[in-house]
């Protein structure tokens, strides 16, 4: 059950290329944070303290912190974010010691059905790595070896993968401009990888993807072509993040010819089986 609470900023560290790692903690005396799953997210208030109009709405951010082990009560969590517009620019100026409202955990989180021995292939576009990171750490903790394919614009954006590499996650990189790793998009990297894996790919790998919409659509197409299961964590502007505005929907179809249904990304998602999404 999500909790709406004011969290204290412990650190708001600039990692380069507009990427920031934010550490939030429950102030002393306040209840511990409810436990969360990898892939769940938080709605965080930005800008001025107190009810503010600028911006009016909170913003959704994946919980970058891996879920607490053995359901131990957590008193802090991290958010990994990239400055995009006014809200994230304001967040980047927020100073340690101040508080931000935070409603979390929200959404379904990752829960890919696991065939015995299968490995997770995490396809990340830019800051999409933030939602895949805790999943990868969990895999490592459980003794498995996830592989992350990371696509971004240019070498400077490798800031977006630094914390994951530090955590021991294997990452292969593609950049649009070829300044680091392979040249091309994350979806191309995925395609080449699955081709190299050959026909057994569909039993060996489960794909979880998060990034810009076009990247996820591309990844979903590639995965379908190779017959590999694929789960995507979708994004949408969100007004509430907890299901009451019905503003964040995505069209899904339970099968070819089935009627289009709109599902809330904040409740029924953000993680969907790529096969049901009406791209």
């Amino acid at each position: 059950m999500p909790l709406d609470t004011a969290l204290r900023i412990e650190e708001n560290r600039h990692l380069g290329a507009a990427h920031f790692l934010l550490t939030l903690s429950a102030p002393p005396g306040s209840p511990p944070l409810p436990s969360w799953k990898a892939g769940q997210f938080a709605m965080i208030g930005l800008g001025l303290p107190g009810p503010t109009n600028d911006p009016l709405l909170r913003r959704p951010f994946s919980i970058f912190e891996p879920p607490p082990q053995r359901q131990a009560p957590a008193s802090s969590l991290r958010i990994f974010y990239k400055v995009l517009g006014r809200g994230t620019a304001l967040l980047a100026r927020a100073r340690p010691g101040t508080t931000v409202p935070c409603l979390a955990p929200l959404g379904n989180g990752f829960d890919p059905p696991r065939a015995a021995g299968s490995r997770l292939l995490l396809v990340a576009g830019g800051i999409g790595a933030a939602s895949l990171h805790p999943l990868a750490v969990q895999e490592l903790r459980e003794g498995r070896s996830p592989l992350m394919l990371y696509g971004c614009r240019t070498a400077a954006d490798l800031a977006g993968i630094a914390p994951s590499r530090e955590a021991g996650i294997e990452v292969r990189v593609a950049t649009d401009d070829g300044t680091a790793g392979a040249s091309g998009r994350a979806g191309d990297l995925l395609d080449r990888f699955l081709r190299d894996e050959g026909p057994q790919a569909s039993r060996r790998w489960i794909i979880c993807a998060c990034g810009p919409h076009a990247m996820m659509r591309h990844a979903a197409q590639v995965a379908a072509r190779h017959g590999v299961p694929c789960h995507v964590s979708l994004e949408s502007p969100m007004a509430c993040g907890f299901g009451v505005c019905v503003g964040c929907v995505v069209g899904v179809r339970d099968g070819a010819g089935e009627p289009l249904r709109y599902r809330r990304i904040c409740v029924e998602g953000p993680v969907f089986d790529a096969a049901v999404v009406a791209w």
Partner: protein
């Protein structure tokens, strides 16, 4: 015993609708009420108004459905809802377990659909009132909104009144030249209560892509931005009709709620504020109580219409007189 010691009385009655305090959540901003359960005690509120219900489930509009604007937001949800049957079957039983007035909001494309919906709800226990969302197209009149047409407003109100024993709240659209005409038509047709306002129509353009942000093009503006517009409409309608009013539009604090009360509303609804803070409505109740305490107000009902006690402001004259004052 002094008012301060006993605590101020927050209970109000809006005609036949008795509320333990004046704060309700607005339609379309609290799901079917149960969606708020993780975030607040429903019993802390005067009432909740469920998402607009239609006879059949509706999938609503294509995304993108929302856009943030200065101190506000646009929405084009397209009235996605589970339909009246699923509401009665899956949501109402849970709602009945909470000490809160449950208002079912309905909309149809014809007068008959409105009446059918009212009848479908009339059999069920635990519904305190029915609210009519008349900001929707009337297919019989070429798609003109019911709510901009006094005649259509009256027909819908009459038909629903005849179909239900519950108090009927008519929810007014603000997108009209003279809202008092619609208000009077609804009152004359038997409405027990008027709620106002629904959203103002607006548009935001994505200038990077050169097209409207919302897939539907236009949408409804809500949030603090519209509060001064909604307060004036409440003030005007309070002078035009004698049935009770429920005010809403941009309320996010106790003080905001009191603007509507003083403008003449007997109760208020909280919409967009719930998005930015799930427990907003409960906080607003506490802030209103605190205001009464600080100002030695024994009963919040004594503040209803307080802003009218200062003589006739130009708003009396309707749009003409007031606009003359601006500029």
């Amino acid at each position: 015993m002094s008012a301060a010691a006993a605590g101020p009385v927050l209970a109000v009655s809006a005609g036949p609708l008795a509320l333990k305090n004046p704060v309700m959540t607005a339609s379309g901003t609290c799901g079917y009420g149960v969606d708020l359960l993780p975030h607040l005690e429903l019993s802390a509120l005067g009432g909740i108004v469920c998402k607009s219900l239609s006879l059949k489930p509706r999938e609503g509009s294509a995304p993108c459905r929302i856009a943030e604007t200065p101190a506000g937001m646009l929405n084009a949800i397209g009235l996605q809802n589970i339909g009246v049957e699923a509401f009665l079957r899956d949501k109402l039983p849970e709602l009945r377990r909470h000490d809160v007035a449950v208002v079912a909001n309905i909309f149809g494309e014809t007068v008959q659909e409105f009446a059918q919906l009212a009848r479908a709800l009339d059999g069920a226990d635990g519904i305190a009132a029915v609210e009519l969302n008349i900001s929707c197209p009337n297919t019989a009149k070429g798609g003109i909104e019911f709510g901009v047409d006094p005649e259509a407003t009256a027909r819908v109100t009459e038909a629903v009144k005849a179909a239900t024993r519950r108090p009927v709240i008519v929810k007014l659209s603000p997108n009209v030249t003279d809202i008092t005409l619609i208000a009077r038509a609804a009152a004359a047709a038997g409405a027990d209560i008027l709620s106002l306002v629904n959203t103002f129509v607006g548009m935001a353009v994505d200038v990077q892509r050169g097209r409207p942000i919302l897939a539907s093009g236009a949408g409804g503006l809500s949030g603090p931005a519209i509060r001064p517009l909604a307060v004036l409409l409440t003030y005007r309608v309070a002078r035009a009709v004698s049935i009770p009013l429920i005010g809403l539009g941009g309320i996010r604090s106790g003080a905001d709620a009191l603007e509507f009360i003083m403008a003449g509303a007997s109760a208020v609804q909280v919409g967009t504020a719930t998005f930015t803070e799930p427990g907003a409505a409960a906080r607003i109740v506490r802030e209103m109580e605190e205001h009464c305490r600080r100002h030695g107000v024994a009963s919040i009902a004594s503040l209803i219409g307080a802003a009218h006690q200062h003589g006739a402001f130009p708003p009396e004259a309707g749009p003409a007189g007031t606009a003359a004052a601006a500029g």
